[in-house]
């Protein structure tokens, strides 16, 4: 522990909060450690995923450390809760950056939090890796320095994937139901744009408010338009209620859900017969890859659930591995070097690697590598966005079986 950081911190102790942190040892600054700030939605509307995302970061850090670190440097994970709120997210980020002196921030989930935090990481000249969908994150001012990397497909890309699935499945009369937030509306609007671009027509669209006891009137309005499929931008909780109420209505229609809603938790919540035949689309197309299996095992161990129940955890897992490979490749831990090497280790060309150990070995052997992530092939474009392929799964007898992959 350097005396400066401690003294600086104690100066603020009069503010009261600081007193509580006296026993804090986590911001010890020793040469061989790289501090990662895990900034996840532990509470709030993202709480379904937050803890799993954090566990995946920790598990991946353990993998890196067990392999001797990245360029000999061990990872240390310091976590904070964004509470899925921009304000709490900003304070949490300030704490991570300022008190814990983290050198990268991983795993902001909702677009609101990412957009609020990105100016801070930019100021601190620190990498931010997020799992948000808002298009604004790709461009300045948010990504003015190119330090922001997005491991999730943008809402727009999701919408395009939905449209591809509709074409492929031969649907003619799609309708949309969207949760009234950035992601829900983004998905539905993206779909509408893509579908109409193909000359199709969306027969009905509803944007609904969260936290209702029933969505029956909303559902009724959509069903009144007699669609053959309903495409949603929704979350687990509301989807649970909607699926039940739809099932009870007895009206036949097909569903296309985003993967975070059409998850094993949904099947568990509403029982298998209700969601039989529902199509779930997610950007984790690599479920056959070895990297996914590694992640899945780690997740299973940490959370007691299959990795498929939390696509964001796969993304945060990949964040750690990608960063470690980039550091290994750069041989240094300053932000500019890391930024410069992320694409080098994740994008083609190069030898496809699926685990940190393999990547490490290849890099040590002086090879150019292309990390294939657990969440996607993980190729970053000029905006720091991935354009993953989308896995299309069908819920059959309670199991979520991936049938094919669409590319956009």
């Amino acid at each position: 522990m350097t005396t400066t950081s401690r003294r600086q911190f104690l100066q603020g102790a009069a503010a009261g909060a600081a007193v509580l942190s006296l026993p804090q040892l986590t911001f010890a600054q020793s040469a061989g450690v790289f501090r990662i700030g895990a900034l996840n939605p532990i509470t709030g509307s993202g709480s379904t995923f937050g803890t799993g995302m954090l566990k995946a970061i920790q598990a991946a850090a353990d993998v890196v450390n067990a392999a001797g670190g990245a360029a000999g440097i061990k990872f240390e994970v310091i976590s904070e809760d964004t509470q899925t709120s921009p304000q709490a997210g900003v304070l949490a980020a300030k704490k991570l950056l300022d008190v814990n002196k983290v050198q990268a921030v991983f795993g902001t989930w909702s677009s609101g939090v990412s957009l609020a935090v990105v100016p801070l990481t930019n100021d601190a000249n620190v990498i931010l890796m997020n799992t948000s969908g808002a298009p604004a994150l790709s461009v300045p001012p948010a990504n003015a320095k190119g330090l922001s990397f997005r491991f999730q497909a943008t809402n727009d890309r999701f919408g395009r994937a939905f449209a591809e699935v509709c074409v492929k499945e031969g649907f003619k009369r799609p309708a949309t139901m969207a949760f009234n937030n950035a992601s829900g509306i983004g998905n539905a609007d993206g779909f509408k744009k893509a579908w109409e671009g193909k000359g199709g027509k969306v027969v009905a669209g509803v944007v609904y408010e969260p936290n209702q006891t029933s969505y029956r009137s909303e559902l009724q309005k959509v069903l009144d338009a007699n669609p053959d499929v309903i495409v949603t931008g929704s979350y687990l909780q509301d989807t649970t209620i909607i699926m039940r109420e739809w099932y009870q209505s007895g009206i036949p229609v097909k569903w296309i859900l985003p993967g975070w809603a059409g998850s094993p938790d949904l099947v568990k919540a509403v029982t298998a017969p209700v969601v039989e035949g529902v199509i779930s689309v997610d950007s984790v197309s690599n479920s056959g890859a070895e990297s996914y299996k590694l992640y899945d095992a780690a997740y299973q161990k940490a959370m007691g659930k299959p990795g498929s129940s939390n696509v964001y955890a796969a993304m945060t897992w990949d964040m750690v591995i990608t960063l470690a490979l980039a550091i290994q490749s750069a041989g240094k831990t300053d932000t500019d070097s890391i930024k410069a090497h992320i694409r080098a280790v994740a994008n083609p060309p190069g030898e496809e690697v699926f685990s940190y150990e393999a990547g490490l070995a290849a890099l040590k052997a002086g090879k150019k590598i292309n990390y294939q992530g657990a969440s996607s092939a993980l190729d970053f474009d000029e905006y720091g966005d991935v354009t993953p392929d989308f896995g299309v799964s069908f819920i059959e007898g309670g199991a979520i079986n991936q049938k094919y992959v669409v590319k956009i």
């Binding site: 100066q11 304070l91 677009s111 609020a116 950035a182």
Partner: protein, 294 residues
């Protein structure tokens, strides 16, 4: 001082501005305004939208104060006929309507996408200097507000609003219109909330309707309850304690590492709740009030 503590101080001062409005409205006048966050939201959106359209931040902040005051007039006029506790719910409903409107008026507010990239105050200065400048500006505005409310409290106007708190009907019998005074009190509190909202928007640089939920109002109420509703110092002390509670709980983890991260969130909310209860039971008049003030 570290940037983190500056950030906490800035947000504390924003809460002080909110709480001061409540001190004036509730502590002095007896108005139970449960819709404070509505005025806060109007201020935030007004300044954000103006500056995003090229107006200077200074103009945005002034406009925020004015825009927040505007709805205070009709709300005051319509609902001041109502009983105190009904007024509370009507104002709460107002703030929810504001949130629903900014959520759904997508052409103006981009709805749930939120407004990113709101200009920062003193953006031209480098990191630390800019933080200090922001802190200094908000501190100056807060001190001005404290001076203003103190002056009001000790004036004939202050005497009359306290008379209204004690017995509104008697005030009417004395030839003074309580509604007009209440509207003014509402408007002053709304303006402070609007300014607080503007500072908030320019500090966080991103606003979205989710930030303007009733919980913000309750936090401001907690601040004046903890600090003491009938004293101006109560707003300051209470806001500081509130922020220590909210942020301090982040550090509880360092004391109790055995608590899992997800449980930590529950522990945090439990600590806030527990301290709130203890404070009210143990010092009903708030930390600044004399016994008997309550």
């Amino acid at each position: 001082m570290s940037a983190y503590l500056i950030a906490i101080t800035i947000l504390t001062l924003i809460y002080v501005l909110l709480a001061l409005g409540l001190t004036l409205q509730f502590g002095l006048t007896g108005l139970i305004n449960f819709g404070h966050v509505g005025f806060f939201a109007i201020g935030a959106y007004t300044s954000a939208l103006l500056t995003l359209n090229g107006w200077p931040v200074g103009v945005g902040i002034v406009a925020a104060a004015v825009a927040a005051m505007l709805p205070a007039l009709p709300i005051g006029y319509i609902s001041l006929r109502l009983r105190d506790d009904y007024f509370a719910i009507v104002t709460l409903a107002f703030s929810e309507v504001v949130r629903i409107v900014v959520t759904n008026a997508r052409e103006w507010t981009s709805g749930t996408q939120g407004l990113p990239g709101i200009a920062r105050l003193y953006a031209s200065l480098n990191g630390a200097a800019s933080e200090w400048a922001v802190l200094g500006t908000i501190l100056a505005v807060t001190l001005l507000a404290i001076w203003m409310i103190t002056r009001i409290a000790r004036s004939p106007f202050g005497r009359l609003i306290q008379a209204i708190r004690d017995n509104e009907v008697a005030v009417k019998a004395l030839g003074k219109d309580p509604a007009w005074f209440k509207i003014q009190v509402l408007a002053v509190g709304a303006a402070l909330a609007g300014i607080a909202g503007a500072f908030y928007a320019h500090y966080i640089t991103y606003i979205v309707p989710d930030q303007f939920v009733p919980l913000v109002t309750f936090y401001a109420w907690m601040a004046i309850t903890l600090g003491g509703a009938s004293r101006i110092s109560g707003a300051v002390v209470g806001s500081a304690i509130l922020m220590v509670l909210l942020e301090g709980s982040r550090f509880v983890h360092d004391f109790l590492p055995m608590i899992s991260d997800s449980a930590m969130a529950s522990v945090r909310i439990g600590v806030v709740g527990l301290l709130l209860i203890l404070c009210i039971v143990w010092r009903p008049q708030g930390l600044t009030g004399k016994r008997g003030d309550a």
